[in-house]
């Protein structure tokens, strides 16, 4: 085993304290009114809607209607446009094409005192009103039901992406008349009261087959086509699930959980120090590092990493990993005690304590990682890494109606990984180095006999 220097303890201690301070308080710089975030602190954590309040709703086509994938994509795009037009920017929208369901989650708008979730939801699900208007806001030329379909295509001549429109018979007539009249002017396309596109008319379009060009990317073309199709959707979305929570209730619960977390940490720390003395103190430092690591993962730490939504069960996961986190330290400290009792030197006991328990700790942690991965796969949003990993198993069941447990799986997995880092590697280095100092060179401080 590599030699561990005396100073190692202080190096690791300093690193853990730095990580803890940064992950809790973050690192910001302000120049005048502009604040730049270098490292995100606990204040940047995105709280789940079970904490800050919000709405969770599942839409579906009316019963008995078998919607195509294109129709579902169109419906999703309507909802997204409406969320933005209602000024809700922090939303999550998932579409399940197997089960024809769209799950929408959005938090309470900031500074909104009298937010009405029922009417917000009602508005989201209503049939979209698509209109083609003269110029920017002139009289209506076409309505959604006069559009048969819109598809994203690649223009054969110049290879650019475009949206191809196919109109119904009377749609084609109206469009032919308008395009004849408006050459060189704009025709704007509106969903409800939001303008989604305003192409310029190049020539008269007599046959009801038009193309909108405009240096689109593939995604932009698809998105515009979806929106236009949304206006021609033959059904109204129905709310299947609907839940809402006021913000005050959740914040109270969060504060209670944070208090619980601090109490838990203090209790566990006292317990472990009384039980194992020096290794106990090392375990507490390692535990602090583990908690800081979990918080850093949730908040995103570096500004370019998106933060992870933290829910109440997610907080419970962090607290649970405080309790379980000492396991690695308990196993090794017990072993060190045993080795000392059979007469090994302190140095030898510490070495073999960590060496011999490695496989048990490793196996135990792997099983927790497996469980956490299953949790995230089963309860996570459809696009997440873990959900994709387990698609084979869960694809038949559709995405979950709730995201609270997903966060629990995440904090659990992060807790386990940091536990391995802190409870095994960091703890070993700290213990080896601290045992080189004279006052800590006594076997009884590690659970051995007192007389040497």
């Amino acid at each position: 085993m590599k030699k561990v220097g005396k100073s190692m303890f202080f190096v690791i201690l300093a690193l853990i304290i730095a990580l803890t301070a940064l992950s809790f308080f973050g690192l910001y710089a302000s120049y005048g009114d502009v604040t730049t975030t270098y490292i995100k602190g606990a204040g940047d954590i995105r709280w789940g809607i079970d904490i800050r309040g919000g709405v969770d709703v599942t839409f579906s086509p009316p019963e008995g209607y078998d919607a195509t994938d294109d129709e579902m994509a169109a419906a999703e795009s309507i909802i997204k446009v409406r969320l933005v037009s209602q000024n809700i920017t922090d939303s999550e929208v998932y579409t399940d094409y197997n089960k024809d369901r769209i799950i929408v989650r959005f938090p309470w708008k900031a500074e909104e005192t009298n937010f009405n979730p029922e009417s917000a939801v009602k508005e989201l699900g209503e049939t979209a009103l698509l209109t083609f208007r003269e110029n920017q806001d002139g009289p209506t030329i076409l309505e959604g039901k006069q559009v048969e379909s819109a598809t994203a295509v690649v223009n054969a001549e110049n290879g650019e992406y475009a949206v191809s429109l196919k109109l119904t018979k009377d749609g084609a007539e109206a469009f032919s008349e308008a395009t004849g009249r408006l050459i060189g002017q704009q025709i704007s396309i509106w969903m409800d009261e939001t303008m989604i596109s305003a192409p310029t008319v190049n020539s008269q379009i007599p046959n009801g087959e038009a193309q909108i060009t405009g240096r689109f990317t593939a995604e932009e073309a698809k998105s515009l086509a979806d929106k236009i199709n949304g206006g021609a959707l033959p059904f109204k979305l129905q709310t299947e699930n609907f839940s809402s929570l006021s913000p005050t209730l959740g914040i109270g619960a969060r504060d209670a959980m944070v208090t619980a977390g601090m109490i838990a940490f203090v209790l566990v720390a006292i317990f472990i120090i009384v039980l194992y003395r020096v290794p106990g103190i090392v375990a507490c430092i390692a535990l602090l590092g583990q908690i800081a690591g979990s918080i850093a993962c949730v908040s995103g730490f570096f500004p370019n990493i998106p933060s992870f939504t933290l829910t109440l069960p997610g907080i419970a996961g962090i607290i649970l990993s405080i309790g379980m986190g000492v396991d690695a330290n308990v196993i090794t400290s017990e072993r060190i005690k045993e080795e000392l009792q059979v007469g090994k030197t302190l140095d030898g006991a510490i070495d073999s304590g960590f060496h011999r328990t490695f496989s048990a700790i490793f196996d135990g942690n792997i099983t927790m990682v497996l469980v956490a991965a299953v949790l995230m796969g089963a309860f996570g949003p459809p696009g997440s890494v873990f959900a994709r990993m387990f698609t084979a198993i869960f694809r038949w069941f559709g995405p979950s109606a709730t995201g609270a447990i997903y966060s629990f799986g995440f904090t659990l997995i992060v807790g386990v990984i940091f536990n391995f880092l802190m409870g095994v590697t960091a703890s070993r280095l700290m213990l080896k180095s601290i045992s080189k100092f004279k006052p800590f060179k006594k076997a009884w401080l590690y659970g051995g006999a007192k007389n040497d």
Partner: protein
């Protein structure tokens, strides 16, 4: 050294009794599924001052055209009493209808600031899907565990070790289930999350024991009996099992206590079953998994001898 393997009949008897009683109670009194699994509606209202419960209920019922049940619940933040309305029908209500009811309540109690605190509406079909998915998740996790244990402990009869570790797991999940049954907590996703966590936690504890068996098999030589081998291994890891469990239980007890004091129901129904499951997990990894495995190996040896 405590003779744990020798007292296996006592452990098996205690565990089977608890499991059988739980199953009987569940069969006789039924198990309530939470609305996220069975579908339904739940609306929580806050208000100022006092409102007659029966009056409040009749306003909702008149508007809805069906009966509801109304419970009182203390608000986490304000400490005031809220009313929780549960619809008896499984269909749930539309946001439109809900808005109508809220308006009616606000008109009737104009000075008392009636507000919707939270609502939960679940379609029965989605609830059912979600339930099935949860059950599949637990089954998948259990299967993964068997495979992993079988692979890691192939030297001490991997598959049987894996299967008995999972038997101990089912035992722990039954204890968690018992909490839900005896405390009349509706089965919700909390149950699934707890069950899965306990699965991982208990396997963790069992792994430590098996790991010791693996090591001791090498150290103690072929002369030691299986009973002795397993018993020594369990005893050596006993302190660890107890200490780890105590520290986890301390953390969870803190959560339970705070959640109970501040009425965070969703966390009580999560942390308390978890706490019981942790204790069951420690108990089963000490008293059930190892002894069960010994019983099986003895049974196999006896069969061979014939």
């Amino acid at each position: 050294m405590i003779n744990i393997v020798g007292r296996k009949k006592i452990w098996f008897a205690i565990s089977s009794t608890i499991i059988i009683v739980t199953l009987l109670v569940a069969l006789i009194f039924g198990v309530e599924l939470d609305i996220e699994f069975r579908g339904g509606s739940l609306v929580t209202y806050s208000f100022d001052g006092e409102i007659q419960k029966a009056d409040f209920q009749s306003v909702i019922e008149n508007n809805l055209g069906q009966s509801i049940s109304l419970q009182e619940q203390e608000d986490v933040v304000t400490g005031k009493v809220n009313y929780v309305a549960t619809l008896s029908s499984k269909e749930g209500i539309t946001p439109e209808k809900q808005e109508e009811i809220t308006t009616a309540l606000q008109q009737k109690y104009a000075d008392q600031n009636v507000q919707v605190v939270s609502t939960s509406n679940v379609d029965p079909a989605i609830g059912h899907d979600f339930f099935v998915k949860c059950v599949v998740a637990v089954a998948a996790a259990a299967l993964l565990m068997i495979i992993y244990i079988a692979f890691r402990f192939r030297k001490i009869g991997g598959w049987s070790a894996g299967v008995f570790a999972v038997c101990a797991l089912l035992h722990d999940v039954m204890f968690v289930f018992a909490v839900f049954v005896f405390f009349r907590i509706p089965i919700s996703q909390n149950f699934i999350a707890v069950a899965l966590t306990i699965l991982g936690y208990s396997i963790n504890a069992t792994v430590v024991v098996y790991d010791r068996i693996r090591e001791n098999k090498r150290l103690m030589g072929a002369k030691t009996t299986l009973n002795e081998l397993v018993n020594t291994s369990i005893n050596q890891s006993l302190t660890r099992s107890i200490n780890t469990t105590v520290s986890t239980v301390l953390a969870l007890a803190a959560v339970c206590a705070v959640a109970l004091l501040s009425h965070v129901e969703s966390i009580i129904t999560f942390a308390f079953p978890m706490l019981v499951g942790m204790i069951a997990g420690a108990y089963s990894s000490i008293c059930i998994a190892g002894p069960l495995w010994v019983t099986w190996q003895d049974h196999k040896a006896a069969k061979k001898a014939k």
